[in-house]
């Protein structure tokens, strides 16, 4: 399952929530229609969860924060004026909640990593990394996953967020700038710095 690809279910009925446009769903949800909001949650739950999970490296925390973010978004829905897309607005809430959570936790963190899916072993890039190109040829994928998460956690929250949104979630610089409420130059410089840092932390696994 690819968490980046989360689209609405095929259209069954023009008036059913699954067939409605995002704007219509938002308007209905603003009037208190929980079915419409349920549909909005379904549309974005995977992406929101994935972002939070990659930031926290903890499934339980990601579950709690993602739920809280959706609830907070519902409570604040009346204040949503449509200046940005609902998705961006929702993302911003989730990102802020996650960063606040991590600041509160600071040094009291433990990993609760999700399992790697079946396709991992068939990803040619990863297979190449753990066989030919990596100096540590006998390293397993699970160990690599742990090392990668540890390295990510050494980054500051804004730097980790940029890497997660860009290199893991595949968002553009512009989207990230909007979500993180900063300019594109800041996103680019944070990304470059974060990659440099990661490259250093993972020097034995990454060919520079």
């Amino acid at each position: 399952m690819n968490m980046l690809m989360s689209e609405a279910a095929p259209i069954a009925d023009a008036n059913s929530p699954t067939a409605m446009l995002e704007g219509d769903l938002v308007k209905r949800a603003q009037r208190g229609d929980l079915k419409a909001y349920d549909e909005l949650v379904k549309r974005y739950q995977e992406r929101i969860y994935a972002t939070i999970y990659h930031m926290t490296s903890n499934h339980e925390d990601a579950n709690d924060i993602a739920q809280d973010a959706f609830i907070k978004a519902y409570q604040a829905l009346k204040s949503f004026k449509g200046g940005s897309s609902f998705y961006t607005w929702l993302y911003r809430i989730a990102v802020n909640k996650t960063i606040n959570f991590l600041k509160q936790r600071k040094n009291k963190h433990h990993f609760s990593l999700n399992d790697l899916d079946f396709n991992t072993e068939h990803n040619p890039d990863l297979v190449a990394l753990i066989s030919e190109k990596t100096p540590l040829r006998d390293v397993g994928l699970t160990e690599l996953q742990k090392k990668l998460n540890e390295a990510l956690f050494k980054l500051s929250e804004p730097h980790r967020m940029v890497v997660v949104l860009h290199d893991v979630q595949g968002q553009s610089h512009e989207e990230i700038a909007e979500v993180m409420d900063c300019n594109i130059g800041t996103v680019r410089s944070r990304l470059f710095y974060a990659r440099q840092q990661l490259q250093g932390f993972l020097a034995e696994y990454v060919k520079s």
Partner: protein
């Protein structure tokens, strides 16, 4: 920049590993249902702690309070400065109250007293003991005003009436 991008190719491939980390099967089947149930139950207010709400609504205040958590010395300094501020406020309040009383206690010139007699006593070398409470000042108006003494105004006692806050019978 292109060369730098190429340098990160290996890292980007490694980061692909994160995309393969997935939650337990069926996890998202109930996710939206749980969110909606919590909204219905009004659980949100309980789940969000005061600290987190403070952080999101007034981050400056939350950051300020966080300083107290990490640096106990700052708490003492802050408390001391608050106490000093309180004491200073009380002192200044008392002083200004006294000044107001003084201003209110100043009486108009007695009808029977000639101006010349007052002018004659308003000499630069005059002291309060000489004049019975007249203060030397560069202000031509107030310098001639007799100030009250602890034992009342000599010669003007009949002009004053003690204020009483006792209820009238």
């Amino acid at each position: 920049m292109n060369e730098q991008e190429q340098n990160f190719e290996s890292l980007k491939k490694l980061l692909q590993l994160k995309q393969h980390e997935v939650p337990p099967p069926g996890y998202f089947n109930n996710f939206s249902g749980e969110v909606i149930a919590r909204i219905r139950a009004g659980d949100a207010s309980r789940s969000e702690g005061l600290a987190e709400r403070l952080q999101s609504d007034a981050p400056w205040l939350a950051n300020f309070l966080r300083i107290f958590e990490t640096k106990p010395g700052v708490v003492g300094a802050f408390a001391t400065s608050l106490c000093l501020l309180l004491v200073l406020t009380v002192v200044f309040a008392e002083r200004s109250e006294q000044a107001t009383k003084d201003m209110l206690a100043i009486s108009p010139e007695p009808a029977g007293m000639p101006v010349s007699s007052l002018a004659s006593v308003a000499t630069p070398m005059m002291t309060t003991t000489d004049t019975g409470g007249i203060v030397a000042s560069t202000n031509p108006v107030t310098s001639l005003q007799p100030t009250p003494t602890m034992f009342g105004q000599p010669g003007y006692a009949s002009l004053f009436q003690s204020a009483s806050f006792a209820p009238a019978h």
